[in-house]
Amino acid sequence: MLQILHETNIDFMSKRKMWMTISAVLVVLSIVVIAVRGINLGVEFKGGTELQIKYVAKPDVGQVRAQLDAAGFRSPSVTRIGREQENEVYIRLASEGAAASQAEKGQGVVTRVKEALRPPELKARLNEGAVDLNEADANTLQQLLALAPGMDPERAKQMADHVLERRKEKGVLAGVQDVASVPGMTPEVTTFLQGKAFAGPFAFRSQSYIGPTIGAELVRKAVTAIVLSMIGMLVYIAFRFRMEMGIGAVVALIHDTIITLGIFALFGKEMSLPVVAAFLTLVGYSTNDTVVIFDRIRENLKNHPGADLITTINHSVNQTLSRTILTSGLTWLTVTSLWLFGGEPLEPFAFVMVVGIIVGTYSSVYIASPYVLLWQAWRTRGKSVKAAPAKAAGTAPAVPREGAPPARRATKVRKASSAR
């Protein structure tokens, strides 16, 4: 039997103070990073316009910015994205004022950006009536092809579709030669196209515009969703297990979220809706590991009522350790593959998952479980914490609270366990 970990017997709990201190430091550092660097809010939250453009050749980011500046766009941001050979850029434009939006009415942002980026010689060709193959829609292409020698309308329609299909496949056409091999193309038609059409230096891939009001609304919704789902976790675990376990799990969740957000801010990644989705998923997923450990703690408390809490927790963490590492590791494998191969739009999402799963797994072991101990210690403060579990041995897994009937907690545990 192949095993990553043979029966381990690590004393996790004795080092709990050290780990909790390290975590506290990490949380504080993360808050500092978030405060200093700020979170790079994407267009969805800030409002504005974002365009993704694919160039035929390597784009000169500085030049693109200069062209947009010259066209009167206020502080455009231009960044390269994806792999080097994909020649893609993101253009982000801040939300424009009311006056500018009046001007936009006649001419949309896309049209204005295209105008700004198009080289003058191609503008001249467009004015002469030539067609840009990287822009033309099916109708325009069909009308153009219908004028080619020996063409009938039906064939023109089919060929227009083939040209579009080729553009879809390649993302951006480098020139008329790129469509020379589409089905039905003849040398005559190619020659005709060479005269009447050209391929512009870029093609639009996507565009989004988010109004300023909706941006604020999305921020509010995102925060509400995350807070509510943490409360949801608390309620669920408190209901299925015990209150202190629920609180322990939520403390771990807040820890995970802040540290992951700190690393996210450190790398200057951009916050978007899918990233919020990733954080929410993380809230659910990192509770997952915690629940498995808690479940084992509960089972061990039931089966070995005499053992003290520290030993029980240690034992439970050790028993579940290999499966905690295995499951987290396997999910981590899939999100890593998403991170590496999933493409630009999903990259920040996958990044959060890749980081968050590691942090979440760590916190299940070093934060959530010790927290349960800490809670016990706090509740029995004034009494000797070390002696307490021994005294309680035989009755309940933990020290009964003053005034509470000693059997109550034990009953509760039994009740929860008897559900199986």
Partner: protein, 532 residues
């Protein structure tokens, strides 16, 4: 095999068969979100306040008309806020008649005051009814306009209280569409009011600035007269704007029953329209009065500042229920304007608050990359499971492989389309699905270590791990629920695929894997060893 087992197998094979049938061939059957197939996603906000403002304006005009008709003198009618109208300086001797006169234009409003001045308030019930009406007719108008665009499988649906979501698959250049969707297209034929002293009506040309118009009228416009701009090409590449003083409306957009783009005599494009019978009569009377004079065709929203003159033709002869709008239109402009006129006006201001357009090439790239990431993820999980758990790992891999068609089939069944975050959700659930298998297998190993027989260990492994699995997955379901409730657009798609994925993975890991063990281990005879 026992009868029981056959039933269980049936319970796996039937959903699987249904799922495969629902998604085969995948190219046609799997519904893709706009971010994968390409298209425009447009969210519009309806400003219901503007509808109230519009009806307040209308009420003001009607009150003035009613008072004039009843020959009651008044000083001014003003509105400080939408829904509130003040009438001042009313002839105090006629105060007995005022309320009766107001009954017709604003009967449902509450009227207070006496003597010379009155305050009219639009009650909440009327306001709400007006807002509802504005939303409904905006939706109707948008539907008609979207239908007129000829986009296949376009969707126009209400979103929340006062928003409209428009989905246009395959639309790559949204600029034109946005123009059509946002334009309120309130069309009015208005009489041109000539400044004093003008005698040659036919050849009069309006001035090029608003101030000049005012000067012509001696500093102030007569009551009821407004000035709107007209912009035309000047013949040398630029454009020139002139300002028309116009008076009352003769015909408004609602009176138009049909509008079509046509070609003019000289190759330009125009719009021919048809009016309702009633409007036709009004139009005929007005045009008879205005032969050899100008009438302005004004287009805009309820608000004055958005109104402009499309063209101001000279009336050659009385026109009844058919006419043409000629202006300097391109083919596309003529096409769009006739669509807007046909579909009617949007009674409230609408504006686009969110818009996402994805080109088809990007969508295709995303699918390709998503599939690659999924395959790599699956293969690495598979390799690990086979090495680590050997034949039991194979069991898990089979269960995992069943996940994909079951998940896609369930999504097809619920009519959910697959979005880009949805693909991420799918890949993520592959990772989470093995979680359950690992939990079970680790448990079985533990039981074996404790000296249980293979059969006992398998049974205990499944039954002991079951509740843990449920607990784990419920936490993820809780976050997916909040994600769905508060997420928008593609993120909702992620929540859907995550939720379905979790449920399906519980089925495959807990039920399917167990059945596979039962088939392999057989029944009754003792089993010596388990490959785990």
């Amino acid at each position: 095999m026992s009868k029981n087992l056959w039933w269980k197998i049936l319970l796996i094979v039937v959903p699987l068969g249904l799922s495969v049938a629902a998604i085969y061939p995948p190219k046609d059957k799997i519904a893709l979100g706009l971010d994968l197939r390409g298209g425009a996603h447009i969210l519009m906000q309806i400003d219901t306040g503007s509808a109230i403002a519009y009806s307040t304006d209308l009420a003001q005009t009607r009150i003035g008309q009613a008072l004039k008709d009843a020959k009651i003198a008044y000083g001014a009618i003003s509105s400080s806020a939408p829904g509130t109208i003040k009438i001042e300086g009313v002839d105090p001797t006629r105060s007995a008649d005022v309320r009766q006169v107001l009954e017709i234009p604003v009967g449902e409003w509450s009227i207070s005051g006496s003597g010379g001045s009155y305050t009219l308030e639009m009650p909440m019930s009327v306001r709400q009814a007006q807002e509802r009406l504005a939303i409904e007719s905006t939706l109707d108008t948008l539907r008609t306009r979207v239908d007129g665009l000829g986009v296949r499988e376009a969707v126009v649906q209400p979103s929340g209280k006062d928003r409209v979501l428009v989905l246009l698959p395959g639309v790559e250049d949204p600029d034109r569409v946005k123009g059509i969707l946002q334009d309120p297209a309130v069309l009015e034929w208005k009489k041109v009011v000539y400044p004093p002293g003008v005698t040659d009506y036919r050849n009069w040309r309006p001035p090029t600035s608003r101030e000049e118009v005012l000067t012509m009228f001696g500093g102030a416009l007569p009551p009821g007269v407004k000035v709107y701009p007209e912009t035309r090409p000047d013949g040398s590449g630029g454009s020139v704007t002139t300002w028309w003083p116009v008076g009352e409306s003769v015909v408004i957009g609602k009176d138009i029953t049909n509008a079509q783009r046509g070609s003019g005599q000289w190759g330009g494009h125009n719009i021919s329209f048809r009016l309702s019978k009633d409007a036709g009569r009004r139009f005929e009377a007005a045009t008879r009065e205005y032969v050899n004079k100008h009438m302005a065709i004004v287009l805009g929203s309820a608000r004055d500042e958005s109104k402009h003159v499309v063209s101001a033709p000279t009336i050659n002869e009385p026109i009844s229920d058919q006419g043409q709008i000629t202006g300097s239109f391109t083919l596309e402009q003529a096409e769009d304007l006739s669509l807007k006129l046909r579909s009617g006006a949007i009674p409230a201001d609408v504006r686009i608050i969110e818009e996402r357009t994805v080109g088809p090439s990007l969508g295709r790239d995303s699918i390709r990359k998503g599939v690659l990431a999924g395959v790599v993820g699956f293969l690495s999980v598979m390799a690990f499971m086979l090495v680590y758990y050997r034949l039991s790992g194979l069991n898990a891999v089979i269960a995992l492989a069943l996940n994909v068609p079951l998940l896609l089939g369930a999504m097809a069944y619920f009519g959910a389309s697959l979005s880009l975050p949805g693909i991420a959700g799918l890949i993520l659930t592959l990772g989470m699905a093995v979680d359950a298998n690992v939990l079970i297998f680790e448990r079985i190993r533990e039981e074996l270590r404790l000296g249980k027989t293979v059969r006992q260990a398998v049974d205990l492994g499944f039954s002991r791990a079951f509740l843990t699995i449920v607990d784990c997955h419920i936490t993820t379901l809780v976050s997916a629920f909040f994600l769905f409730s508060y997420g928008t657009g593609p993120v909702k798609g992620f929540a859907v695929s995550l939720t379905i994925g979790i449920i399906v993975s519980m089925f495959t890991a807990v039920f399917v894997s167990r059945v596979i063990y039962q088939i392999v281990l057989g029944e009754g005879r003792p089993v010596e060893a388990l490959s785990i």
